[in-house]
């Protein structure tokens, strides 16, 4: 039987399954110990949980950074909470129940208090309390918890979902692949898997019930195909696919250090999209020629409060310094709302979050938040070649307002004698159709424009890319999208404004020739796609691509265009 899931991270894997099951706990109400002994048991379990947490925290700090590790400090304090401990001890003595029974009841009471709170942030803490109490209960009942940090054999992790604890602690050397029941290409687990270059297929729905620990599984992270307990023929097919994948990977590595230039001498720039400073390793490994998009949202997510100016400065400084003075680093200002929930910003529920108060619109209405980020960016500008990019621009007025705020911040810093780079480029994302249509007007006010194809396709075709029911309508080949891209590039160049692209299309092998033909010179993509893109670019003649683009742009349907490109520019 074949399972199909969402392709989350490429790679072909054949390996042994390790299922991370939700732990079944046996909570006995009464036992043979005296109340004093039960209290001792409780204290022992608390101590064990505390030292576990300390290890988890340290691992999280070294693998994911200090700010992601801080949540485990809060967990540790819960274990020392006198209200919790005193209540549990009291229950043990008065009701003469076991430590686990008492502790579970008391912990659940606290979980219920938090789960019922109005504030969303507080409700999320209920999950934290449950997580911590599970540690104690596991210690008390001797239930096994797979210690992902202690993996000694290569396994394919199969789980309902991977928690931050899991991804923080797992021994990556031994994780061959990841398969989950829920999640998709843009979920946290997917992004992490791609960053760590671990093949993954998510959203399988019932992987955890179909696969058992010890089973062999074969899967393809690119196609989303999963074969539990494959027969000999299937196994052979996957082994071949794996060998092909490895060979292609090695071959692609040979393009490191080569110039991204076409056969007829047109030089292009291939850059990487990153989310955190931790992505820098993968960025350099793939020989990126700069950062075309540093998504700053990750700094703001998964935490209790806004990152301080200094915290932001440190992250931006790190990236700028790593990329260096010779190559550009484009940092996008806060792009939140809609799907990315950040409780402490209190943006609140909206009927249409994708058409709502988000990204630049939100920032212009939240000057304290925006200016803090702008300050951190300008302070960091002395460490590299910074370009600041504003997301979700829909008109000229927004650009002018944002530029004005930036100038105010620069003046502030100057008055405080804080050094700022004399030239910081200012750019905008073109992802809303209105911006694409008036890109000639916008180009006059900025140094560069970067086309965000993911959202451009959504807004232009009126498709929610997460909605599986209309998935086919999300079409990168849609002539409307291609004509808008073409328009933006022409308008940009006419105004002496640089045009780049940072959406997924930029790294799509099938579309690169077309984009080169339209005159696109800057392509920013997932770092893992860069070398493959360079291989393609080096095989192209820009003049031929121009012909190709001219022809493709006369066609009226996505499928026609797709076929046209396939016929005329087959990618080896």
């Amino acid at each position: 039987m074949t399972l199909w899931g969402k392709s989350a991270s490429p790679g072909v894997v054949v390996g042994r399954v390790l299922v991370l099951a939700a732990t079944e706990l046996k909570i006995a109400r009464t036992g043979t110990h005296s109340p004093d002994n039960e209290v001792e048991r409780l204290q022992g379990a608390l101590a064990k949980a505390k030292s576990e947490l300390s290890r988890v925290r340290d691992r999280a700090a070294s693998e994911l950074g200090e700010d992601k590790a801080a949540i485990f400090d809060a967990h540790a304090l819960v274990l020392e909470d006198p209200e919790l401990i005193d209540a549990a001890v009291e229950k043990i003595r008065s009701a003469k129940v076991t430590a686990e029974f008492a502790f579970q009841e008391v912990a659940e009471q606290f979980v219920a208090i938090f789960a019922a709170m109005k504030n969303e942030y507080m409700r999320e803490r209920a999950a934290d309390i449950r997580d911590v109490s599970m540690r104690v209960l596991r210690a008390l009942t001797g239930a096994e918890q797979v210690d992902l940090a202690a993996l000694t054999e290569d396994v394919v992790l199969v789980a309902h979902d991977l928690t931050p604890s899991d991804t923080a602690t797992m021994n990556k050397k031994h994780v061959l692949g990841i398969l989950t029941d829920i999640g998709g290409k843009t979920s946290h687990t997917a992004i992490l898997a791609r960053t760590l270059e671990i093949p993954a297929v998510l959203g399988l729905k019932d992987a955890t019930s179909i696969l058992k620990s010890g089973d062999t599984v074969a899967f393809d992270g690119e196609t989303g195909e999963v074969q539990p307990r494959p027969d000999a023929a299937t196994l052979a097919r996957f082994e071949k696919a794996r060998a092909d994948f490895e060979r292609t990977r090695k071959e692609i590595l040979s393009f490191k250090g080569l110039a991204s230039v076409t056969q007829d001498g047109r030089a292009l720039r291939l850059e990487g999209n990153i989310g955190t400073p931790e992505d820098l390793g993968i960025l350099h490994k793939n020989d990126a020629e700069g950062v075309g998009l540093y998504r700053t949202e990750f700094l703001f997510m998964d935490r209790a409060a806004m990152p301080t100016e200094d915290e932001q400065f440190e992250a931006y400084r790190q990236v700028l310094a790593s990329v260096g003075a010779e190559r550009p680093t484009i940092i996008r200002t806060l792009d939140v709302g809609g799907d990315k929930e950040i409780p402490y910003l209190n943006i609140g529920k909206e009927a249409n979050p994708f058409l709502g108060l988000r990204a630049l619109r939100y920032c212009l209405q939240a000057p304290l938040v925006f200016k803090t980020q702008l300050r951190a960016l300008l302070r960091a500008s002395v460490h590299g070649q910074l370009g600041i990019m504003f997301p979700m621009v829909s008109n000229v007025e927004e650009v002018l307002a944002a530029k004005k705020m930036l100038e105010e911040v620069r003046a502030e810093l100057q008055a405080q004698a804080v050094p700022v780079a004399p030239k910081v480029e200012i750019g905008i994302m073109i992802e809303i159709p209105s911006a694409a249509v008036i890109s000639d007007a916008l180009a006059k006010h900025v140094d560069f424009m970067s086309i965000g194809t993911n959202d451009l396709i959504q807004y232009t075709c009126a498709v929610d890319r997460m909605n599986e029911r209309i998935h086919d309508l999300y079409d990168p080949y849609h002539p409307a999208v291609l004509r808008l891209i073409d328009l933006v590039i022409r308008n940009g160049h006419a105004a002496g404004c640089r045009v780049g692209m940072c959406g997924e299309m930029a790294g799509s092998p099938e579309l690169i020739p077309l984009l080169v033909g339209m005159g696109l010179k800057e392509f920013s993509m997932a770092p893992a796609s860069i070398l493959r893109a360079r291989k393609i670019v080096r095989s192209l003649r820009a003049a031929d691509c121009q012909e190709l683009a001219r022809g493709a742009l006369t066609l009226g349907s996505g499928r026609e265009i797709e076929q046209f490109l396939k016929d005329r520019a087959p990618i080896a």
Partner: protein, 86 residues
């Protein structure tokens, strides 16, 4: 001994500042309570503090009873004034 102060930090009494307060309170022998909105919670209990759901601008009364009550109240008041910069 008691003192009333106002929370000045952006995030209010979320996990990190609550943790800082609990750690400070635990340094003292006195029994310490934080009173706000008609409720009173043990200042050495992180869940107790967080369950108060206090935001920026909230007024809290620090109440301490014991041999080091004066130092305890002052130390915690200072934390609040310093916006819990750890």
């Amino acid at each position: 001994m008691e003192k009333t102060v106002t929370l000045l930090n952006e995030e209010g009494l979320h996990a990190r500042p609550a943790g800082v307060l609990v750690k400070k309170a635990s340094e003292f022998k006195s029994a310490i309570e934080i009173r706000a909105n008609g409720a009173a919670k043990n200042a050495k209990s992180i869940m107790g503090l967080m369950s108060l759901g206090l935001e920026k601008g909230a007024q809290i009364t620090i109440v301490a009873t014991g041999e080091d009550e004066a130092q305890a109240v002052d130390a915690i008041a200072k934390l609040v004034a310093d916006k819990f910069s750890a």
